[in-house]
Symmetry: C2
């Protein structure tokens, strides 16, 4: 029964709901732009168009907002990815569609993305949970695909988990490099290249002629 630090009760009226959302939205932009340390409550409330004290009606601390935003990102991203991969014929196609959708998401929501990454240094627990949850769905999806013979069978107990974390790392790094830092470059060739690597790895294609000199 460790119910320490309950979250504040949710707003009871429509007005409250609106205000809370305005603050959350301003916080997302502000923290995304300036980072957690630089973002001040006064700036956030100013941007939201409310008084300083109003913040504390809905959130206990600045950290609270981070937690909330991480959960929010999780929900949004999950939804986005579910939609994007719904029509996939197999796991490999799902990986490709998912990566593409993820990069799109990052470009459309750079603030949210940065908030999640920074949450690791504000509330490590929520950050771990975020990735651990993703890893879990990933593991399940991969295990199912293994059963169906769509991906190579794992050699040992850990390998599905390892693959899940590798795939997350790939997405996060490509998201950082091409989603955040280089938001103009066309995504197609990137996704193409990444999907090929995910499917076949670095090895020279065994079927293809290995040494076509000249």
């Amino acid at each position: 029964m460790t119910l320490r630090k309950r979250s504040l009760p949710p707003p009871k009226t429509g007005r409250g709901e609106m205000t809370r959302r305005k603050i959350l939205d301003a916080a997302k932009r502000e923290i995304g732009r300036r980072g957690f340390a630089e973002a001040s409550i006064s700036t956030i409330t100013a941007e939201a168009g409310v008084a300083q004290g109003t913040f504390y009606i809905y959130f206990r601390t600045k950290e609270d907002v981070m937690r909330e935003l991480v959960l929010h990102m999780g929900r949004m991203l999950r939804h986005h990815l579910t939609e994007a991969t719904a029509g996939a014929k197999n796991r490999l196609e799902a990986e490709k569609l998912g990566l593409r959708a993820f990069l799109d998401f990052v470009r459309k929501n750079p603030d949210l993305y940065k908030v999640v990454e920074e949450s690791q240094f504000v509330d490590e627990k929520v950050y771990r949970q975020y990735y651990t949850d993703f890893a879990k769905s990933y593991r399940i999806a991969l295990a199912a695909a293994e059963k169906r013979g769509e991906v190579a069978a794992s050699k040992n107990g850990v390998s599905t988990e390892v693959r899940a974390w590798m795939l997350m790392g790939i997405s996060v790094f490509l998201g950082q490099r091409y989603g955040l830092w280089d938001p103009k470059t066309p995504l197609e060739p990137i996704v193409e290249a990444a999907a090929a690597m995910i499917a076949h790895g670095l090895s020279p294609a065994p079927g293809a002629a290995p040494g076509r000199a000249k």
Copy 2:
């Protein structure tokens, strides 16, 4: 000629050198443990066994220390990886040895690792430089391996770069999951699984029987 904010002159005596190193070391531990925001100059100097003011003889700000530590990590890691992959027969083997060495490094230097990751929110420039530099050496190594036919030829211009970032993402995420968060688990099976995936991807091995039912 934008020489703004020159770094402080280096110590001129052995004593100064020692003191500077003690501070840097304490800062590494302190920031690694408590994070950049929580780490205070007074705590760092206390741990280093010097007075508060001494800090400012060697560093302008806390951010300065971060920058220095990121560069330090870069040098140490590069050295560690170079040694570890020296005897590799080919790129695939180098990848495996490199990953293994990286995970070792993370387990031995968790503070330094965390400092580098947090630097992204303290001085984004130095963080980008860190990974951009690594990506560059990676690209060069991959391109050479392609020439030698050790890895699949890239299909288009971006693909070598994409591969480099994917491989870095893989390392960082496995480093986080198995190096930092789960520092006891044996690394062999993890490296084994990861190397297989890096070599062949997710696709069922084309040689292996795809549907050995029951």
